[in-house]
Symmetry: C2
Amino acid sequence: MIELFDSPSSGNAYKCRLLMHKLGLPYTRTVVDIDTGQTRTPDFLARNPNGRVPLLRLPDGTYIAESNAILCWLAKGTPWLPDDRLEFAQAMQWMFFEQYSHEPNIATVRYWLTHGIEITPLRAQLIDMKRPQGVAALGVMEGHLAGRDFFVGSRPTVADIALYAYTHVAEEGGFALAPFPNVRAWLARMAADARHIPITD
Amino acid sequence: MIELFDSPSSGNAYKCRLLMHKLGLPYTRTVVDIDTGQTRTPDFLARNPNGRVPLLRLPDGTYIAESNAILCWLAKGTPWLPDDRLEFAQAMQWMFFEQYSHEPNIATVRYWLTHGIEITPLRAQLIDMKRPQGVAALGVMEGHLAGRDFFVGSRPTVADIALYAYTHVAEEGGFALAPFPNVRAWLARMAADARHIPITD
């Protein structure tokens, strides 16, 4: 059976659980506590030398790291990963946007504020830098969603799963969603799916 | 014809030029000066609301942003993008690693040091933070390349293109490659390809 190494509050891990639930894929779950350094032990580094969760262990013992790559593996051959050349590239575009322009700003600030991380003077300056960058990322999403139900094509894809994870908890990091009505409508559309599960599941 | 909006010293833009050259794909090139804010003008933001190069304009006027998504579009249907489910996911894993753990450290420090960006006290602290993270990313690559010629499978893929771009100029950012012999051998393998072009082309 597939084994997911994850962390309960990680949006990156939630992406994997959410798509596995939607696909009806059974898996076991091993919680790794990122706050106490469990992703940097020799045992864990032997599984993922980059020392991060989520991490997927396939039944043959192969590991796949990087949340969005795990989504690609899970979705390959399903409608969640478009096969059309342009739609495939567009789904990848939004996933790379998520990891470069969205997650390092919105998820990192949320992590610092909700995990009792000490806000040193350096972190305070970084928050001042990350906050407008996170708001800008939400603005890019808001503009793209004007007149669109989902990020790519006419149905949800891995791009929506990737972006949903940290957008729907953005306010935990102090990123107000009120100014982004298209984003809020899209979040509601995603959560209305019969096979949706919350991040706390 | 395909049009690439790029910036000469950008490794992200070089990825696209390198793969297009390897594929023998003709394209026109429009240089956008990131140092003078040309990626943030209303005209450019209408093309890419996230305000970044590289950006690919397809013949029908569609734009694709994010360097690694552009590689995916270019490579789709060719051996540069593995179709096998696991190898495809592994290629994606290394591309997301590149954008999350490699580029923000190695490329950002190189950019600051080579573009005459003022090293404010905050940037100096960020360099102190990014330097060990960049070295760690090189270490992850070094370990993976032990006994391997390329990152995924037995031939170069989009993952190698993505990682080559900023690794081969890492020393311009003060990241010594001497401690990473597997990485240096892989760089030499990549550059030995008959259809290789340098970043300056």
